[in-house]
Amino acid sequence: MLPVASLLILVPLIFAAVTFFTKTKEQAAGLGFLGSLVTLGLTLYAYMNFDSSTAAMQFFESIEWIPSLGVNYSVGIDGISMPLILLISIVIPFLILYSWKEDREAPNRFYGLILTMQAAVIGVFVALDFLVFYIFWELTLIPLFFMVNIWGGEKRVHASYKFFIYTHVASLVMLLGIFGLFYASWQQTGIPTFDIRELVTQFQFFESSLLRDAIFLSIIFGFLAKMPAFPFHSWLPDAYSEAPTAGSVLFVLLKIGGYGLFRISLPMLPNTGNPDLMITMLGFLGSFSILYGALVALRQKDLKRMIAYSSLSHMGFVTLGAAGLVTLSVSGAMFQQFSHGLIMSILFMSAGAIQTSAGTRIINNLGGLAKKMPKLTVVMMVGFMASLGLPGLTGFIAEFLVLTFSYVNLPGFVLLALLAIVITAGYHLWAMQRAMFGVYNEKLGDIMDINSLQVFSMAAIALLVLYFGLNPSPVLNMMITNSEAIVSLAAALGV
């Protein structure tokens, strides 16, 4: 058996390093594509050999790193991380194809950073040691920062610094929580360890409930700010909309906040001083993100900003489903992460294509684009329909599961979220109608449709949205297995 978990980090990292030294655009894009294909191959290999009937860690590897602090390099894959690794490995090759024909300065850095980002995100997903986890967590900041800072829009400097400082400070708060967890457990057992699963288990034995709450809250703060959830989202619209298309898609693939919620926060939640309060808080943040994101998206003039806020709204389902703490609501939340990654990639690619062709993203200045860009319109329509939750596409399954099963524990918040469903449908259709249909805005001049590589990559993702919408079990099964494990833990404690 290959040491897949380590290879999934190493391969993109090595390809990234080599890509940085390429001279021409073709070399850079080609090497980047090759790297992402090899990673995809490894991911599929892992997926084929993956057993979705167990919640246990698979492909586990562990090497001693700093014994005096109890740090090990340990990695592994389970049903929480597998779908997310699959997501990023699938989207990145298509992302590289999508941007193949774009001209930009320093293509070697551009593609190198994309692969670095992939390595870092996969690193977070497979890490089973808090120190390794934190290192990769922080490493994700660097490619994203430069993505926005170098190739971003007009306000890129502001957006990149805001994103960096905001999420960096949140990560530092999380780091304090990790330290607290580490020392409290050291005091408890007399053995220092940074092992995530061990520390999460030890968490319940800490005597002071104040300490447990402080640890839980500071760690979850890092996750919520990264996801992001209302009210820690203010970096999101700027960063998402100022980033180049590839950068926005990378932001969408940055599912580490939600992942942390399932891997670390949910198993800890039943053992906090006041679990009910924490659940209420999460439910509130989730449903408010859904509602607030939808309301603000409704009044956006800029198409990309609208999509950014709709992303905030959709991530609310992840928080809400997690707070629901029923097997299927948690699985729904996990599935939402997967589905959201695919759908938002299409949406941001569409917005990028419109920007390139029409030269503007302001919805009112567009109009009737379907006449000039028929191919884009078809794919974009699939993306928008999936995003508003049309049955048969992935968005529906995720939101249906979250709303139906969170109702068991959190009826009030689900009703609040239901309100937003109407608004969501509204702003999607309204934007589509104003930008793509109706009379063509002659001021735009003669514009080109998307190129064949873009059609191919966007259509491929759209087909996946349709495929997983009709047949979610290839990824949903393993999510259910792991959600059961999380929920049964909570149930055993009577939460």
Partner: protein, 481 residues
């Protein structure tokens, strides 16, 4: 008869210094270049002897010298810095007529620092302190036709002389109250000091004396000028080496000798650490001279290390001691990289010749001197505490220890400071890689390249495989507890 083998590293350094001084007299400026290699070899031999002697323990000369894990660790720090500095100075002293003086001063300073590391008696400590200080005063003013160098050296000398006086005055009070200058004996009789108001005066005077070397605010006034004005190789020795001399002396004197007065000095260090790190980082943000920025960042780092005195758990002391070695590599390397840029600007005679280390000189350095830019990036990221570097591991241990001791507020201040520092470090990286170069590509002189790679190796080794260093730091911390 004492077994002088215990002093082999010190003897190797002194002997090399004397030989260099002696044979330099008979050499022409062209052949003097080999003196640099000779000095480097001597330091390397001392380093090997130190590492080889790890684990031995002894006291010598009637208990005035103590060879233990703490002294060995700090000897490692000083010799590593000295090695990097001697290597880089080969280029700095190329075709100079004063090579032998330069190297013998560097080696005598190193010798002084090494004796401070093992001193177990206040008088010996003071003498060694002065030996190192006097040598570095002369080194700081080595470019005697450069007004900045002289200004820095003058400030450094005057403030240094006053602080030495204060330190000696403090020692005299300690002696007056306890009747001894031996550190273990003071520790035994510490109640005499604790019950006497004179003890408090002694603590204040000693903090002022050591604080000057550690460059803690408000005893830091000399540091930015001296670090900016001195030749970069000397700044490297000052910031990375002689600063640590203050720390090792403070570790022994406060934690071992004056343990009974812990509440007093702990309070003082709490204030000093917080003020120093905050002041250093805030002021560094607005600097346009890179060496001056590194000087303020060096203050900030001293503030972090001083947290070890505040937290005082074994973990914190391990972290503080580990941090000194990490900082030695990072800061020595960063100053050498700045030195390479200064060399580039002055030898090309283009750009800002008045302030050759201005940020503008770093524009597009990634294209002009790729190796220097890459190494500088590693150093500033390490200083900012980004993994996988020594700086990250050091901060991890030191900052996390505050949580263990329940001082979350201190951890928050330190971490916020660390986040702030990222701003000015990242700005330097932006200048080097994202701004267009102003001038053509320059070949990197071998001595600079070798010194930089050595420092990078240290920074990365401590970051990627910290276990042996951590063990040594733990052993060293054990001496203090």
């Amino acid at each position: 008869m004492e077994n002088l083998m215990f002093l082999a590293p010190e003897l190797a350094v002194v002997a090399t210094g004397l030989i260099v001084l002696l044979i330099g007299v008979f050499m022409s400026p062209q052949t003097k270049n080999m003196l640099g290699y000779l000095a480097t070899l001597g330091v390397l031999a001392a380093l090997a002897l130190t590492i080889q002697s790890f684990g031995t323990e002894a006291t010598m000369f009637f208990g005035t010298l103590s060879i233990d894990a703490l002294s060995q660790f700090f000897k490692l720090v000083f010799l590593a810095v000295s090695l990097i500095v001697s290597l880089a100075s080969i280029k700095y002293n190329e075709n100079s007529d004063h090579t032998e003086e330069f190297y013998s001063l560097v080696l005598f300073a190193t010798f002084g620092m090494m004796v401070v590391a093992s001193a177990n008696d206040l008088i010996l400590l003071f003498c060694a302190f002065e030996l190192a200080s006097l040598a570095t005063f002369a080194l700081a003013g080595f470019e005697k036709r450069n007004a900045r160098s002289l200004e820095g050296a003058m400030k450094y000398f005057i403030i240094g002389a006053i602080s030495s006086a204060l330190m000696l005055f403090g020692i005299s009070y300690v002696y007056g109250a306890t009747g001894t200058t031996s550190i273990p004996m003071i520790a035994e009789n510490a109640t005499l000091l604790a019950e006497n108001p004179i003890g408090l005066v002694a603590v204040v005077l000693l903090i002022a004396g050591f604080g000057f070397k550690m460059a803690l605010v408000p005893f830091h006034m000399w540091a930015p000028d001296a670090y900016q004005g001195s030749p970069s190789v000397v700044s490297s020795l000052l910031a990375a080496g002689s600063k640590k001399m203050g720390f090792v002396a403070a570790f022994r004197v406060f934690i071992v000798a004056l343990a009974a007065l812990q509440p007093d000095w702990q309070l003082a260090f709490t204030i000093l650490a917080v003020v120093t790190m905050t002041f250093g980082n805030v002021v560094a943000v607005s600097q346009t001279s890179v060496k001056r920025m590194l000087a303020y960042s060096s203050l900030a780092q001293a503030g972090y290390i001083a947290m070890a005195f505040v937290v005082m758990t074994p973990m914190a002391l391990t972290g503080g001691i580990f941090y000194t070695l990490a900082h030695a590599f990072m800061k020595a390397g960063a100053f050498i990289a700045a030195g390479a840029v200064v060399w580039m600007i002055t030898s090309q005679k283009t750009g800002n010749l008045d302030i050759p280390d201005h940020l503008d000189s770093f524009r597009g350095l990634g294209k002009r001197m790729p190796l220097a830019a890459l190494c500088m990036t590693v150093f500033v990221f390490a200083l900012a505490g980004i993994p996988p570097t020594a700086g990250f591991m050091a901060k991890l241990v030191l900052f996390s220890s505050t949580i263990q001791a329940g001082m979350t507020w201190l951890a928050v201040i330190a971490i916020l400071n660390s986040a702030l520092s990222l701003f000015y470090y990242a700005r330097l990286v932006r200048y080097m890689y994202f701004l267009p170069p102003e001038g053509k590509k320059i070949g990197m002189p071998f001595p600079y390249a070798a010194a930089l790679l050595l420092a990078v190796a240290g920074v990365l080794a401590m970051g990627i495989w910290p276990e042996p260093f951590m063990q040594w730091a733990m052993d060293a911390a054990q001496v203090l507890i």
